[in-house]
């Protein structure tokens, strides 16, 4: 018992040193490692895994994990909030009831007649669907043909993203959850969208490695959920570059009104490095 505790302590110290060295492992993880495993080798592999994970936490993730960053203050929007925003996107439904026009704060929709398609926001479509009052027509971009094409495009062109709706992840997820019987070949569609998502995230990740100091990074066709996922890393690395380039400015934090701090930046040709993520 005692020896085990000592081993624990020792391990804890070593992992601590290791983590100071890599500067990656959080206190929580250190704690966990120190208490739950005894072998240093396993610690090693574990902390290494942790390192890659926290650096690129968007590698092959499930939807819920995807935006569920460790620090809620940095990821800014929760996945639920982003989903809420996406629920105002319009979709087409085919109602099976008659209903008068709905004059909502968020706009006027309807009137509804059985078998006559109507455009409504996604939240309304889901609400009606849940009550069995309509079928939802999956949007055009969700056809197998289009998705296959997008996936091919994503794989072929490593430097740019294909055009997908800003909320494609949220919309498809909501439809998979609530309208599975309305989507033909749902398994195919689902796996295509998952593949597209993975390829895109991998692409962001590899492109981020080419990141360099600049005052702006433009990424075409990045979706809402993807913005939220890459935000912590992108913002922090850009900040770090900025800090190193502008030591004077950083010392002078109060000058919020100082609108030309970047003039003092060394004029390195940055446009070259900004290319990889740009749409050509």
């Amino acid at each position: 018992m005692f020896s085990a505790t000592r081993a624990n302590l020792e391990n804890d110290n070593r992992t601590f040193l290791l983590s100071v060295f890599t500067g990656i492992i959080s206190r929580h993880q250190r704690h966990k490692i120190g208490f739950h495993s005894l072998k240093l080798t396993s610690n090693h592999s574990k902390s290494c895994k942790n390192k890659t994970k926290s650096l690129f936490s968007f590698r092959s993730l499930s939807l819920s994990e995807m935006a569920g960053q460790s620090d809620p203050h940095i990821s800014l929007f929760s996945p639920q909030e982003i989903e809420f925003m996406a629920e105002d996107e319009l979709v087409e439904i085919v109602p099976n009831i008659r209903m008068d026009p709905l004059n909502f704060i968020s706009g006027d929709f309807g009137p509804f007649f059985p078998q006559i398609p109507a455009k409504v926001p996604l939240w309304l479509a889901v609400a009606l669907k849940k009550r069995g009052k309509c079928t939802i027509r999956p949007p055009q971009w969700m056809s197998i043909e289009n998705l296959t094409h997008v996936l091919e495009g994503e794989r072929e062109d490593q430097g740019a993203f294909q055009a997908v709706p800003f909320h494609y992840i949220e919309i498809s997820r909501l439809l998979f959850d609530h309208a599975r019987d309305d989507i033909p070949d749902i398994y195919m569609v689902r796996s295509l969208i998952e593949d597209i998502r993975d390829v895109r995230l991998h692409k962001v990740e590899t492109n981020l490695e080419k990141f360099s100091a600049t005052s702006a990074v433009k990424i075409s066709h990045l979706s809402a959920m993807e913005v939220n996922v890459v935000r912590p890393f992108v913002v922090r690395s850009l900040q770090a570059f900025y800090k190193h380039d502008n030591p004077v400015v950083m010392a002078d934090l109060d000058s919020a009104s100082d609108r030309q701090p970047q003039v003092r930046q060394p004029q390195v040709p940055r446009n070259a490095q900004r290319q990889p993520l740009k749409r050509r």
Binding site: F104, K218, V227, V235, R259, Q262
Partner: protein, 220 residues
């Protein structure tokens, strides 16, 4: 084919967005996103909040009337959902501002231009927050410290400026989208302006675009 797909979807989205941009719900959503993504407090949207309040109140009355008049429960519940969504947006907007106010109250209060961005109720809130915080610090800690160290805002009497006031980090980067079809932003360090289409997302230094928020760009 890929082009068809791209053009078709973006064109459709453009039309949709311009159509939807007319509703206050959509404007409120944008205001919320901007407020949430910006490091400092933004101008309070007086007119927008006023309109949203009025519409919400009106809708509350309408829903009540519907319920009493024995209207189809399905329709009533849909109206209620719409109402809930609008209320959620408004509350989130006000709440995120309160969070910022609590965090940076001293900083906001001493700066005139920041203070003017607040609504009247927010000003009262900040004032009371500051009073309470000062009283609390006074009673728990400061009164027990030597004379030179009793300021709530300065480390000691020799500090030349307020060095214990939390300030927002303005040298940060934000993600933004063009709020129109196309926008061209002049960034200080590059000779080429940053050009953005509807579908582009850019991470830009906050200070450079802060005056453009709500005009040319919206934060995401």
């Amino acid at each position: 084919m890929a082009d068809d797909f791209g053009e078709g979807s973006t064109a459709g989205m453009d039309d949709y967005e311009t159509l939807m941009a007319t509703t206050d719900v959509e404007l409120l959503k944008t205001a919320l996103r901007n407020e949430k993504a910006a490091p400092e407090i933004l101008q309070f949207q007086v007119q927008l909040v006023k309109r949203a309040r009025e519409q919400i109140q009106l809708m509350e009355e309408t829903v009540e009337e519907f319920e009493q008049s024995g209207m189809d429960p399905l329709t009533v519940s849909l109206y209620q959902m719409d109402l809930d969504r609008a209320q959620f947006l408004l509350r989130s907007y006000l709440r995120i501002r309160l969070q910022k106010l609590e965090k940076y109250m001293f900083y906001i209060w001493k700066n005139d231009s920041l203070r003017n961005r607040l609504s009247e109720p927010e000003k009262i809130f900040v004032k009371r927050c500051i009073d309470d915080m000062e009283k609390h610090l006074e009673e728990t800690v400061l009164s027990k410290l030597p004379d030179n160290y009793q300021s709530t805002r300065r480390q000691s009497i020799i500090s030349e400026e307020d060095d214990m006031v939390p300030e927002p980090q303005l040298d940060t980067f934000v993600a933004c989208k063009s709020s129109n079809r196309f926008v061209s932003l002049r960034l200080v360090d590059s000779e080429r302006p940053l050009e953005m289409q509807r579908h582009d997302v850019s991470f830009v230094l906050y200070k450079v675009i802060k005056d453009k928020i709500g005009v040319d760009v919206d934060l995401v």
